[in-house]
């Protein structure tokens, strides 16, 4: 006779331990969001009524929660924007021609330079409420993560296998069904991966956007970023340490509770039709799978799902006539192109007019010179980071056990907001009398270098064992081994890392060329400082000029340098 139920029977029992965990987790999450969300509506009337930051470490969980909520709201908006923008760009040939270059430019514009414009805009939009600042901060995070998500989605849509599209047409899937059954799923892996990477980068911007001074006015938003800012102003080292500990825990928690389960779940959207060798795992995902509640809920909601599907399918019926895409209407295209050119020309002319009328050509030359200085910093950074991190990355990549162990660590470091470390570096520069002109390179590197390391590891892992054995067999050693096997082997991965790192460095220049500790402010000569100072003063012409110049540098650098390397990587060094 059995006294205890078998494990199977326990599983059959409608409520398992997993269910209790899921219910508790859901309640806790809802309560947390409610508590944090309510405070975004508080009264705010600068400069009289403005939120104060309390440096007591016990407040840190609350501040971290506020910042995290901002991150997730931005992520939700980014996803929505991505789906709409990417879909339109991929489906309409004309829209594509305008939207993709625009995306390319937006991706290169320094997000932080924009803060000044958006903050004033959003405050005007929500007068008397903190919501304006909140929105500005969320918008900054949004702009930091949305572009490459959109690019990834667009590219996935363009590369959906032809036969799958034909099957969708032949089996008369409605627009909605095609979108949910074919297009979004086939883009899912890239989308999740890019969202996760952008989200990691977003911590940097949440920290930078919570406490800024625009138009001679200090704006503070309760959050972990403004906490750090205040700690710097008060030269409070222990508060800084607590903040760093907190952000590290938050990043780990978000990874474990949110990203891991999503990555595991999205693995089923892999387009290769064979089983993958190593699938990722997540305990949260396993818990949700083991629990009955999600499935029961799913079953209960199914009729509702069917209903919405019917309704949305009825709104987007499959086309019954031949698609027109293979017949370009040349005349219409030419007119379209002409209008586009006129608009672009008008914008450029207006900007030039504005800049020249207000600041004059001498100022333009000056910013160009400052841009060159910052470019020099970015290049020195790239060279040094490459010399230091590529050998380490390759060594890790060649050792599978080490790579498995260290890859999450490097990923963590890449998403750790470097601006939390800035004060320590600043202090170090002040104590050792290192000039910020050079020191800012180190500050920029704090965030950017990890991409080089991360991609070097990944690149080294893709070098086939055969090639490495061949190198041993041929007696290739030292520099020769690097020149013949390793550098060509990791080249394309390095280019990917390099593009990301240099983009990150340009962005970081705005906050790392001018840093402070207490009343000490170190200022380096460069375009980043120029933009920051113009922003603080509210000098619109100079803000515009600075951002335009930096965008020009980034776009030019991408076109002339990275794109060529990228082509080389695609053609010659493709493994």
């Amino acid at each position: 006779m059995r006294t205890f139920p078998t494990p199977e029977a326990l599983k059959r029992f409608p409520f398992g331990l997993a269910d209790i965990a899921v219910i508790l987790g859901t309640i806790a999450l809802l309560a947390l969001i409610g508590r944090l969300g309510a405070d975004t509506m508080v009264h705010f009337a600068p400069p009289e009524v403005s939120p104060e930051i309390d440096l007591d470490p016990r407040n840190l969980p609350y501040y971290a929660g506020r910042s995290t909520l901002r991150m997730f709201i931005a992520l939700a908006f980014s996803t929505l924007f991505t789906l709409i923008y990417g879909y339109i760009a991929a489906r309409s040939r004309r829209a594509e021609r305008m939207m993709i270059p625009l995306l390319d430019i937006l991706q290169s514009v320094p997000v932080l330079g924009f803060l000044s414009i958006t903050v004033t805009g959003f405050i005007a939009l929500f007068p008397g409420s903190l919501l304006g600042l909140e929105a500005a901060s969320i918008f900054a995070i949004f702009t930091s993560q949305v572009w490459n998500m959109t690019f990834s989605f667009y590219q996935s849509l363009r590369t959906v296998p032809q036969e799958l599209m034909e099957a969708a047409r032949l089996y008369r899937l409605s627009g909605w069904q095609r979108f949910t059954r074919l297009e979004v799923p086939s883009a899912m892996i890239g989308l999740v991966w890019n969202a996760m990477m952008s989200f990691g980068g977003g911590w940097f911007f949440v920290a930078a956007s919570e406490a800024i001074s625009v138009l001679n006015q200090e704006y503070t938003l309760p959050g972990i970023g403004s906490y750090v800012e205040k700690a710097i102003a008060q030269e409070n080292l222990s508060a800084l340490g607590w903040a760093i500990l907190t952000i590290a825990i938050v990043i780990l928690l978000v990874d474990q509770l949110f990203w891991r389960p999503i990555v595991v779940w999205s693995d089923k959207f892999r387009l290769e039709q064979s089983a993958a060798a190593a699938s990722p795992t997540s305990w949260v995902y396993d818990l949700l799978q083991a629990a009955r509640i999600p499935r029961t809920l799913g079953r209960l909601l199914r009729p509702l799902g069917e209903l919405t599907k019917r309704a949305l399918s009825a709104l987007t019926p499959p086309r019954s006539t031949y698609p027109e895409r293979d017949e370009p209407g040349e005349k219409g295209d030419r007119i379209f192109n002409l209008i586009l050119l006129l608009i672009i020309g008008a914008i450029i002319a207006w900007m030039l007019h504005f800049i020249f009328r207000t600041v004059g050509p001498a100022e333009v030359l000056k910013t160009f010179w400052l841009g060159l200085l910052t470019l020099l910093r970015v290049m020195v950074l790239m060279v040094i980071a490459t010399i230091i991190w590529t050998p380490i990355g390759v060594a890790i990549g060649f050792n599978p056990k080490l790579a498995r162990l260290l890859q999450p660590v490097v990923q963590f470091l890449a998403s750790f907001p470097a601006n939390f470390i800035f004060p320590f570096a600043t202090l170090f520069f002040i104590r050792t009398n290192i000039s910020i002109e050079w020191g800012s390179i180190l500050l920029m590197a704090l965030g950017a270098q990890w991409y080089i390391l991360f991609n070097s590891i990944a690149g080294a892992q893709t070098i086939p064992t055969d090639l490495r054995e061949m190198a041993d067999n041929m007696g290739l050693r030292g520099w020769q081994r690097w020149r013949k096997v390793i550098i060509p082997g990791i080249f394309s991965a390095w280019v990917t890392g390099g593009v990301t790192a240099s983009g990150g460095a340009w962005n970081a220049s705005i906050v790392s060329e001018i840093v402070s500790w207490g009343s000490n402010t170190l200022t380096a000569t460069g375009l980043g400082t120029y933009i920051t100072e113009a922003t603080t003063l509210g000098d619109w012409p100079r803000i515009t000029l600075g951002i335009a110049m930096m965008s020009l540098f980034v776009v030019g650098f991408n076109r002339l340098f990275w794109r060529r390397l990228y082509e080389l990587a695609e053609t010659k060094y493709h493994l």
Binding site: E163, L164, Q177, P185, K572
Partner: protein, 460 residues
């Protein structure tokens, strides 16, 4: 029955259909299909048989309403087709399954789109899954299945819709030989048993045996531009028995037809009585002689590697008389017609072999090529290239006219572009480079994208 009433009963009819694609640079257009007339009737299995470039997949997609014809009309059930053909379901070469849906969800896809409710969807999909022998795999994901099983899902997904005509686009060509054989047999059994959920089948294939085995009528397509060369009735009782002399005679005849693009397709009169066809080598030499005033870039080079040609010849030289039956050769090499024929074409074009009556035979030059040393065989290859294919002489003289003996690849590509769609022009160029390198006529630097004369020639 008069043709008129026959056409009225057709499930799908194609009338004077042509299809051309504009070249991307706007340099005019290329005709893929020209003046096609074809009808599919209830109760028959029709095969579209053609080599690559014959536009057979394009024709299938026009009949499915996935592509619009440039000229002519398509009728489905007597109604002119304006878009996706709803009477048709298709089985794809690459299966085209959605990897994130289970077997059952994949099968339900079309029903779901039609708005069939949940219970009915379930019932019908399970029935179809049962029919193709996938019982027990309903909740599996495609990546857990073997290729053969995946294609079974493809069949179930199409058949569950009970289409009037089932389209198959090279459905077995992505499977290994044994799996393909097994699945092909099962589909044939299902059709012969009269249980098939569609009224007709249209299959695109480049596999001659498969066409004879499955089809009641075989539509032989010619290439450049795609056109119907003739329709052959397979007058055998179903299921078609491979051991029947009539079966092998048909296969032999089709091999002859496929290796002789100029031969008129009249069908097989008396069993086994295949008229000896003209020696194709003569045709090519004739073409070379006639094209003195025409561009040498007009001639289509079959896409075969120099190494493959050499391999084929070395295989043949071990045969008695240097002769071999084509179906047997294809089977021995495990090559489909699409892989074998270009190699064969190249061997014939270069005067190394001749093809007649479904057999391939070495010429004297071919025998010499296959038995001599590497260096001498290269000389032979060069000699035959220059003798039979004018484009090589043209390339070499262009290079010789230049002082440094080199020329951009673009220059030659442009010349091919005038006669072929760009993708094909690129393949022509790649083939020419492969042959020219092997013959040591010229060298190609892929980094700089330039053709060079070898240094020895430059000094001379």
């Amino acid at each position: 029955m008069t043709p008129k009433t026959r056409l009225d009963t057709a499930l799908i009819a194609v009338e004077q259909v042509s299809k051309s694609f504009a070249s991307p640079e706007g340099k005019g257009s290329f005709t893929v299909l020209s003046n096609i007339n074809l009808a599919i009737y209830p109760g028959e299995v029709v095969a579209l048989l053609g080599r690559s470039g014959s536009g057979k997949s394009t024709l299938l997609r026009i009949m499915a309403g996935l592509l619009s014809p440039s000229e002519g009309r398509v009728y489905s059930n007597g109604q002119p087709l304006k878009g996706t053909n709803t009477d048709v379901a298709m089985v794809f070469q690459s299966f085209a399954l959605l990897p994130w849906l289970t077997v059952q969800e994949n099968v339900e896809l079309g029903l779901d789109a039609q708005g069939v409710d949940l219970a009915e969807r379930r019932r019908r999909s399970l029935e179809a899954i049962d029919l193709v022998g996938l019982d027990g795999f309903e909740s599996a994901y495609p990546k857990e299945l073997s290729g053969g099983m995946k294609q079974r899902v493809g069949f179930a997904r199409a058949l569950v819709l009970r289409p009037k005509v089932l389209f198959m686009d090279e459905p077995f060509s992505a499977l290994d030989v044994l799996t393909a054989e097994n699945l092909r047999g099962e589909i044939d059994d299902l059709w012969n048993a009269g249980q098939f959920p569609s009224q007709s089948i249209l299959i695109v294939t480049h596999n001659i045996e498969e066409a004879v085995f499955l089809a009641d009528r075989i539509v032989v397509l010619g290439a450049r531009p795609g056109r119907i060369r003739g329709i052959i009735d397979v007058d055998l009782p179903r299921s078609h028995d491979r051991t029947q002399p009539r079966f092998t005679a048909l296969v032999d005849y089709l091999y002859t037809v496929m290796t002789n693009p100029d031969l008129e397709v009249t069908g097989l009169g008396v069993a086994g009585a295949v008229a000896a066809s003209p020696v194709p080598a003569a045709r090519f030499e004739g073409a070379a002689a006639n094209s003195v005033r025409r561009s040498p870039y007009e001639m289509h080079l079959p896409h075969a590697r120099a190494g493959s040609i050499s391999g084929l010849l070395e295989l043949l030289v071990e045969k008695p008389d240097g002769q071999e039956d084509l179906p047997r050769l294809a089977e021995r090499l495990g090559l489909t017609v699409d892989d074998l024929l270009p190699i064969l074409d190249a061997a014939v074009l270069l005067g190394f072999a001749t093809v007649a009556a479904g057999d391939v035979k070495l010429t004297d030059v071919g025998r010499e090529f296959a038995t001599t040393t590497i260096l001498q065989s290269k000389d032979l290859f060069r000699q035959q290239l220059l003798r039979h294919i004018p484009v090589f002489d043209s390339i070499c003289s262009t290079l010789r006219e230049k002082q440094n003996g080199s020329m951009r690849a673009d220059f030659f590509l442009d010349l091919w572009d005038e006669h072929f769609p760009h993708a094909e022009a690129e393949r022509q160029f790649a083939t020419a480079v492969d042959w020219g390198r092997y013959a040591e006529l010229f060298e190609y630097d892929a980094d700089e994208e330039r053709l060079y004369l070898p240094e020895a020639q430059l000094v001379a």
